[in-house]
């Protein structure tokens, strides 16, 4: 695949409104930066080849190369990607918290990995108001503060780029498909830099069907609710068709049809619902409230899950055949929609 530079990113991604603000092009150099949830190029760079282009999940992804690199096997075009097994999970008794999106499995796994020394730090997503900001935490207490879904598009991959620049290693990362695709490409050392060191040793993927343009989302919500009072947000399973915003003891239901207009165009070409380039992918368990779906993709992922269970950080349960069917259909539909949209964009 031909690697381009920042000029081509503009032509192919930013000018065509395909950016989903994953942050893969940010934190590498002084030219691409994120401000208030939007990627900007602050000065021109005239390099013909740049990591910005090579790492962007929207300039074209070499799935075969990534699969060999990540799973040591050819790319599978199955809806859920490569995996070893799927289980139901929730946070164990060792984890105390009340703001988990669903079962708290992500916070549980990261907390355990940090506390057990499996990783030295974790790249998570915090928020300033409604604008997400990536954050590197060193302990379980700080990890807990980053719990809960942010909904707005987050440039989490930028923090991984920064960490690589700072020479950090053995980090865990929690991210959605676009962020983890960017990070997977970064870990493949696309420009073959001789001094490259992989900063990441654990990746936890988040199921994602779409995110929201951070600025539009902020403007939309600010017109209805004081963002400072928001304690949580949720999209209940169909057929609810609402976006729920919790403030203190009350909840406000916003029509999902309105919220969907805030989805960046870039999400519509994303084929990956379950974050395939991860050791473990985590999402809601539709039909089993306060439990998560866990897709264990790598041996390292499985080892971490087993140890977390043994240490009381995580509880597991069987995943249902109906659940698997439902998940596979959902992930497959996203691939179909994305391919259709990509064909439209190309033609």
């Amino acid at each position: 695949m031909k690697i381009g530079g920042s000029k081509e990113i503009f032509e192919q991604v930013l000018d065509t409104d395909l950016c989903s603000v994953c942050g893969a092009c940010v934190g590498i150099c002084p030219y691409f930066k994120v401000h208030s949830g939007k990627v900007a190029k602050v000065f021109d760079c005239d390099l013909e080849k740049g990591r910005c282009y090579a790492q962007c999940p929207k300039t074209g992804v070499d799935f075969e190369m990534l699969s060999q690199n990540y799973f040591n096997q050819p790319y599978t075009d199955k809806p859920l990607g490569t995996y070893q097994k799927i289980v139901a999970a929730k946070a164990g008794d060792m984890l105390q918290g009340d703001r988990f999106q669903n079962g708290g499995s992500v916070t549980a796994l990261i907390s355990f990995a940090l506390e057990s020394g499996a990783i030295e730090g974790a790249v998570l997503t915090d928020a300033e108001g409604l604008i997400p900001v990536p954050k590197i935490v060193e302990n379980a207490g700080d990890a807990l503060k980053c719990a809960a879904t942010k909904y707005a598009a987050a440039h989490t991959a930028a923090a991984v780029n920064e960490a690589a620049k700072d020479g950090r290693t053995n980090l865990g990362v929690v991210g959605t498909a676009c962020q983890l695709t960017g990070i997977a490409q970064m870990r493949a050392n696309p420009l073959e830099k001789s001094d490259f060191m992989d900063p990441v040793s654990l990746t936890i993927g988040l199921f994602c069907t779409w995110s929201l343009d951070a600025r539009k989302f902020k403007d939309y919500i600010s017109g209805k609710i004081d963002p400072a009072t928001i304690t949580g947000m949720d999209v209940p399973p169909p057929p609810a068709e609402v976006f729920v915003v919790k403030t203190g003891n009350s909840t406000t239901e916003l029509p999902l049809s309105e919220v969907r207009t805030l989805i960046p165009n870039g999400c519509s070409v994303c084929p990956d619902m379950t974050a395939e380039w991860a050791d473990i992918s985590v999402g809601a368990f539709e039909g089993k409230k306060e439990w998560n779906t866990l897709i264990i993709r790598t041996a390292r992922g499985e080892e971490l899950v087993n140890k977390a269970v043994a240490a009381g950080y995580l509880k597991l349960d069987e995943f249902s055949a109906a659940g698997l069917d439902h998940l596979t259909t959902g992930a497959g539909n996203k691939k179909k929609r994305a391919l259709k949209k990509q064909n439209q964009e190309v033609s």
Binding site: C29, K33, A40, F43, G50, C52
Partner: protein
């Protein structure tokens, strides 16, 4: 500087044109001098300020040119000789008062001396103010060499007093900024006495009020003065003819073009074929003098810079005189013989003369010309305008440009006149998107800031310097505040009128004569009129950008950010290094992905250079002033500010 106040007359002195004007004013006994700095005029006021104590003068750098003309007029109304100095744009600024002054008339001799800039060597226009003399119906004098610059100035005061109206003198860069030998005259006593008489009859020019009403009467009086001027100009020694009694071609010229024309005629050796009529009194033209010379030849070439002002005046007279002098063939700007833009030079005049006279002339051999052209266009490295090493404007525009790009809402900056005008170029990251007159950035921004009504939601910024703030930004700012225009004004306060040589302004402690003045404060003024004000140091990128975002986040109303950092060339700072700046070569990423020469390719301080062999950046110790800003630019910390050894 020469000894401008050398009392010995009949001595030769090598002086700059602007010093010749200053000496002429001193010989005339000028008492009040006011101006606003502007190249190529600034040295006149500066020279006179330097001798103000010795010669008992009142000299000031006024807030703007209109005020300068008003200050000078007060001197004239009080029977003192007064001088107002400005450049071409300044005449526009002062023109409203100028029109009324022409109507009211003057008492003590008053000169308006404008030094103009054909070719815009140090301007963003090549305006030609000679039109004002015709529009305002006041006499115009244009010296043709350095001696005349002094002598015509001295005579101008007498003319003004005789006519009781202001007299305009026009110089150009090549007279003001070139030097020549002149002979000094005597200096008068300096015991000036000021008194403004105002209780006399309303129409009494010496004792009545100074007003332009009754308008029709005063206007008629003005036109009588023009007729009186014509009579005086018929015999003026500043109008000279050199050449044969019946030349093939009459060349009429004025100002620096007199020098170019003389040189061209001499180089071509056509003294016997071309007559040179050099005019020092270019409006109103003396008809009898013109009739006498136009009779001599059937072909007439008019050589002047910029617009065909003299050409049109001559043609009007020639038409009126046609019965007596016959039909002439004219060459000049209107037929394309002489270009209507840019400066002239002897080569252009030679080209025109050769065309008319049917001659060939090559100043250089073909071989030499070719070689010179090759070296000029291919050999010289490409250079673009840039800010000096350590210039605060580079840092300011680095911050403003980045903040607007990061904000990503198509924000833009309206600019005006100062060193910072260069921010239209890559030197200032092409940040300025409009650039007009002094103060216009804020006026234009004030308008943009009200276009929200029509759906415009781009962030609107303007910039101005500290001197410009007082000169013409204040009315625009008041307008913006009053109308709640949604704009951010960034005042690039480098503590002086830096571009023209650090002349004082209302924000400085001293006045033009070095005496203590009441110093004003930009942020207090802005606060008092209701703007939201912040102050930051542009060298502190984080603080400055944070402040810009804070101000951008405030919707509605005027925000002012004062970016304060003294000019690197100011007398207070020049030569003082804050840091010994070093580049750690092993850390420099150079052309690699992750930097791509941000410091030498984008930031581009001349103190940083690219080592083409080692492929790393390095400090040019001869140019670096040690401000240390580039250490904040480097993305990997390869540039370090060390304590000065």
């Amino acid at each position: 500087m020469t000894a401008l106040t050398d009392p010995k007359s009949n001595q030769h002195h090598l002086v700059m044109g602007n010093e010749a004007f200053a000496r002429g004013a001193l010989e005339a006994g000028v008492a009040v001098v006011a101006g606003y700095p502007g190249t190529p005029s600034s040295e006149i006021v500066e020279s006179l300020a330097n001798v103000s104590k010795e010669r008992n003068l009142y000299v000031e750098w006024s807030t703007n040119e209109k005020v300068a003309m008003e200050v000078a007029a007060a001197g004239s109304f009080a029977k003192l000789r007064s001088l107002c100095v400005l450049k071409q744009n300044g005449v526009n600024v002062a023109s409203d008062f100028f029109l009324h002054l022409a109507g009211s008339g003057t008492r003590g001799g008053m000169l308006v001396l404008t030094c103009e800039d054909p070719g815009a060597l140090s301007s963003v226009n090549e305006g030609d103010s000679r039109h004002f003399s015709r529009m305002l119906e006041i006499p115009l004098l244009e010296p043709g060499d350095f001696q005349e610059a002094k002598d015509i100035t001295k005579w101008g005061f007498e003319l003004s007093e005789a006519l009781k109206c202001p007299v305009m003198i026009r110089s150009v860069t090549r007279l003001s900024h070139a030097s020549g030998n002149i002979t000094f005259g005597d200096l008068p006593e300096t015991d000036h006495k000021a008194e403004f008489k105002h209780d006399g009859f309303i129409l009494d020019p010496d004792t009545g009020p100074m007003i332009s009403a009754p308008v029709a009467y005063k206007h008629g009086l003005q036109q009588q003065k023009v007729q009186q001027a014509i009579k005086m100009f018929e015999t003026s020694p500043f109008n000279t003819y050199t050449g044969p009694g019946n030349p093939e071609l009459l060349l009429i010229t004025s100002s620096a073009c007199n020098l170019y024309s003389r040189e061209a005629i001499k180089l071509l050796g056509v003294q016997h074929r071309v007559g040179l009529l050099k005019l020092g009194t270019t409006w109103p033209l003396p008809p009898k003098l013109l009739e006498k010379h136009l009779r001599m030849a059937n072909k007439v070439l008019i050589v002047e810079e910029v617009i065909p002002f003299l050409e049109e005046s001559v043609k009007i007279l020639a038409m009126e005189l046609a019965e007596e002098i016959g039909i002439k063939k004219f060459f000049g700007k209107r037929d394309g013989t002489i270009p209507s833009t840019n400066e002239l030079n002897p080569d252009i005049v030679i080209g025109a003369l050769c065309g008319i006279l049917g001659m060939d002339y090559a100043g250089l051999t073909a071989e030499y010309s070719e070689k010179a052209n090759t070296h000029l266009f291919l050999g010289a490295p490409a250079r673009e305008g840039t800010f000096c090493a350590g210039c605060p404007h580079r840092a300011s525009f680095w911050n403003i440009s980045q903040a607007l790009k990061l904000d990503n809402n198509e924000g833009f900056v309206c600019g005006d006149i100062g060193c910072y005008s260069m921010a239209v170029l890559p030197a200032g990251y092409s940040t300025l998107k409009t650039l007009h007159a002094m103060g216009s950035g804020t006026g234009v921004a004030s308008g943009f800031g009200k276009l929200g009504q029509f759906g415009m939601d781009q962030p609107v910024f303007s910039v101005c310097g500290d001197s410009t703030f007082y000169h013409a930004v204040l009315p625009a700012l008041v307008n913006a505040v009053h109308h709640k225009s949604d704009i951010t004004l960034v005042v690039l306060d480098n503590s002086g009128t830096a571009m023209t040589g650090f002349q004082p302004h209302p924000g400085t402690e001293k006045d033009a004569r070095g005496e203590e003045a009441l110093q004003m404060n930009i942020e207090s003024i802005c606060k008092s009129i209701g703007a939201t004000v912040r102050v930051a140091d542009p060298f502190d990128f984080d603080e400055t950008q944070k402040t810009i975002f804070e101000l951008m986040g405030m919707k509605g109303g005027v925000k002012v950010l004062v970016l304060r950092q003294i000019c690197a060339l100011s007398p207070e700072k020049k030569g003082i290094r804050w840091f010994d700046v070093v580049v750690h070569e092993s850390q420099c990423l150079g052309e690699n992905c992750g930097c791509n020469r941000l410091c030498t390719r984008v930031f581009k301080c001349p103190g940083l250079v690219w080592d083409t062999e080692k492929k790393v950046s390095k400090i040019d110790d001869a140019i670096c002033v040690g401000c240390g800003v580039c250490s904040s630019v480097c993305p990997v910390g390869a540039i370090e500010n060390m304590e000065v050894k």
